[in-house]
Symmetry: C2
Subunit: 143 residues, 2 copies
């Protein structure tokens, strides 16, 4: 059993651990972050919905065969209560090409408090037309 | 104030009320179903993220100017606790053309229990390649 199995951080730390595992192509670490529930859902941009551990694991395994993926979640909007955190982020994906693709990736990540701690219930990522919106907070800090 | 303002049903009934308001192009009824929180998020397929009541309202107003939209949510997968329901559905959208588009719409709908009752926190819809997956339950009933 991976040490990651004992993940016991906050919902924010869970999100960091999620993108960190993706950046390391750490399949075991990534899968240990999901809720132990066959209703967990993962949607990769443009792809059909995946439900349950086996399908979700297979999808990430296929992604990691092509290498790790560096994703920086930005512009978080969040709603939370004692048992759930709903995060909306814009995923800044580091690609090998610098070519503008005139699109960006949006993700809805839902985290739930389980008896084992905070775990992922849903990751829904999709492509949106156009460049990502200006980060107004960052802009106001810089200017 | 609309009568819909007093919506006090379950999370499942909230989902029905949501798609029902869309099918009637009922902007006031629709907006009354969202949580009174400026962190609410709505993503229409392929479009940039909308955060907060004003932006979300404007988007539906623009959609309804072209008429109502009949959407039948199918193949529900759900996770829930006392204060949150996370629904993943395939949206069967009734279009005027019967032309196959070789895609389908997935939606993640997050409902939260507020002091006013169950309300919408997030609606994230996106297009997926290919036809919708076979509904195995429906298929087993029919055959």
């Amino acid at each position: 059993m991976s040490a990651k199995k004992q993940f016991n951080g906050s919902a924010d730390e869970l999100e960091s651990a999620f993108y960190d595992a993706i950046s390391k192509a750490d399949l075991e670490g990534l899968m240990a972050l999901w809720a132990e529930d066959e209703e967990i859902v993962c949607v990769h941009p443009g792809a059909p919905r995946l439900v349950g551990h086996a399908a979700i694991r297979a999808s990430w395994e296929a992604i990691f065969e092509r290498g790790s993926v560096h994703i920086h979640p930005m512009q978080l909007h969040a709603m939370h209560n004692m048992f759930t955190a709903v995060h909306s982020v814009i995923e800044e994906v580091q690609r090998k090409t610098n070519k503008s693709q005139d699109m960006h990736i949006l993700a809805t990540n839902v985290y739930i408090k389980t008896p084992q701690g905070w775990r992922i219930a849903t990751h829904h990522a999709s492509a949106a037309a156009g460049d990502p919106p200006l980060d107004l907070f960052k802009a106001s800090v810089l200017h």
